[in-house]
């Protein structure tokens, strides 16, 4: 949908409006990995490998081939932002939910926030703590 109009008073001030419906190709997830024990650390590569193995376990080779991007990862907090093509969101989410261990140690992925807009993950009102 495009609406536009020109105005003579301001030369550059033509008006344009575009509505992009379902235009995002990707979905973004903010997740963290929780361990039952304390003091376990993973580097970014191991973290991504864990996600791929989770996908492979639930969805087989097709799942493992899903192009998941680890956009950011913090080793200290095990907090990460993932990007996945929109058609693979349910596959990724289910694989993350059903993963229960890393090297025989119990763990779980917690999904904190999801959005089709990466910018939405920059601000989460549910994490707003007022003191």
């Amino acid at each position: 949908m495009i609406e536009s109009g020109d105005d003579k008073g301001f030369k550059p001030a033509s008006y344009e409006r575009i509505v992009l419906k379902n235009a995002s190709e990707y979905y973004y997830l903010k997740i963290y990995l929780e361990f039952q024990e304390v003091g376990i650390s993973l580097n970014a590569v191991e973290f991504k490998q864990l996600i791929i193995s989770a996908l492979k376990r639930l969805h087989g080779e097709v799942g493992a081939a899903l192009p998941v991007d680890v956009l950011s990862y913090e080793e200290k907090t095990l907090l990460a932002i993932l990007r996945v093509p929109i058609t693979g969101l349910v596959k990724l989410w289910s694989a993350l939910t059903l993963l229960d261990s890393y090297q025989n140690r119990k763990c779980a992925f917690r999904v904190i926030q999801t959005s089709p807009f990466l910018l939405a993950l920059a601000g989460n009102s549910r994490e707003l703590v007022l003191d």
Partner: protein, 363 residues
């Protein structure tokens, strides 16, 4: 045709609305879009090629004003005649329930227009006995209802039947208690009136949290203010820019190759390297009036020649507010996102990008 498990592949609808016009244009709607988005939890602005915080911004940020957190406030206190006459009818009064979730709890919001909007579950709705309508997003068997009370209505007098019934419903029939975020914008008298008015309750005055930071050597997309859709090899589109902005605010690395293992995200092309970018983030309960003041400062910034081609102002709304823009119903579903970004160009042309999730009207 019935496609089994179609929902497994399809994600909920989401909208990104992009508008382009000029800030000083008399029919420009950017200010009304800002004003209509009542509940904002985070405001960030990004100034490329800027190392030191300009004084005007410092004072604008310092003048954001305080807001209040009132604990365990009975909802009927917001519909008393005294409250309406002191706050609702004089200036703009904003209130939003704090730590309530729109997809599971009862929530309430008071808009500056004097409308009190309650989003309640089915049981509460039936117990309350106030007139409302089913939520637009609760399917065939409504489990959530929306009640809108217009407090500034002339028929809402202290002796009217309607007022008596509402007070009875909220005080005796089904007393509702919430923690409220409150703010009052008005001209004239002192601000601490809210504090003294609710002195019997546990009230706390809060200041928005402000952080300034400088990002070094940032890859910035090239924009052309006349081309929202961008142009191959000349300018990036509004949608690409929106994603890039998310990457910058979430500290995502931009320099990945298509073959790298971790991530393949890279800055949209064409791009330029900017030595330093100033990023300011404000969190709290931020009123639209204050955002308009910030916007004015941004426009004034470009009155003198500057290196920056544009400044971006990002505003995140509350995911659990019962409204997003105006009185449009808002729901959570998977993310509850309702946010907008204003890009002000050197020529004072602007781009406004508004993003909403599945449970929202087109802004």
């Amino acid at each position: 045709m019935f496609v089994p498990l179609r929902w497994l592949r399809e994600t909920p609808r989401h909208l990104l609305v992009c508008e382009r016009s000029h800030v000083r244009h008399e029919r420009s709607r950017h200010a009304s879009h800002v004003r209509d988005h009542a509940f904002n939890c985070r405001v960030s602005f990004l100034i490329p090629d800027c190392g030191i915080v300009p004084e005007a911004f410092k004072s604008a940020v310092a003048g954001l004003g305080e807001y209040y957190l009132v604990k365990n406030l009975s909802l009927h206190e917001l519909v008393t005649e005294e409250f309406i006459n002191t706050f609702v009818k004089k200036g703009s009064c904003y209130a939003l329930t704090y730590n309530t979730r729109i997809d599971q709890d009862n929530t309430a919001a008071l808009l500056p227009t004097g409308k009190l909007i309650l989003s309640v579950d089915k049981d509460t709705y039936e117990e309350l006995g106030l007139q409302g309508h089913p939520s637009r997003y609760s399917g065939k068997k409504p489990m959530r209802y929306i009640i809108t009370l217009d407090l500034s209505e002339s028929t809402f007098g202290p002796d009217s039947k309607k007022h008596k019934r509402i007070i009875w419903a909220l005080k005796e029939k089904k007393p509702l208690e919430f923690d409220f975020l409150l703010a009052w914008h008005h001209t004239g008298s002192e601000e601490s009136i809210l504090m003294s008015y609710f002195s019997k309750n546990q009230i706390q005055a809060l200041q928005p949290k402000v952080t300034f930071s400088t990002l070094r050597n940032v890859q910035c997309p090239v924009l052309d203010n006349n081309k929202l859709k961008g142009e191959p090899e000349a300018a990036c589109s509004a949608q690409e820019f929106f994603e890039w902005l998310g990457a910058i605010l979430s500290c995502v690395g931009l320099e990945n190759t298509p073959s790298s293992f971790l991530s393949t995200y890279s800055c949209p092309q064409p791009s330029t390297f900017v030595e330093q970018v100033l990023l300011c983030t404000i969190t709290g309960f931020i009123l639209p009036e204050k955002i308009i003041c910030l916007l004015e400062q941004i426009c004034c910034y470009f009155e003198e020649p500057k290196l920056a081609h544009w400044i971006s102002l990002v505003v995140h709304g509350f995911a659990d507010s019962p409204v997003s823009w105006r009185e449009c119903e808002h729901g959570f579903l998977k993310g509850g996102e309702n946010l907008y970004n204003l890009v002000i160009f050197r020529s004072l042309d602007y781009w406004l990008q508004m993003a909403v999730g599945a449970h929202d009207d087109c802004p």
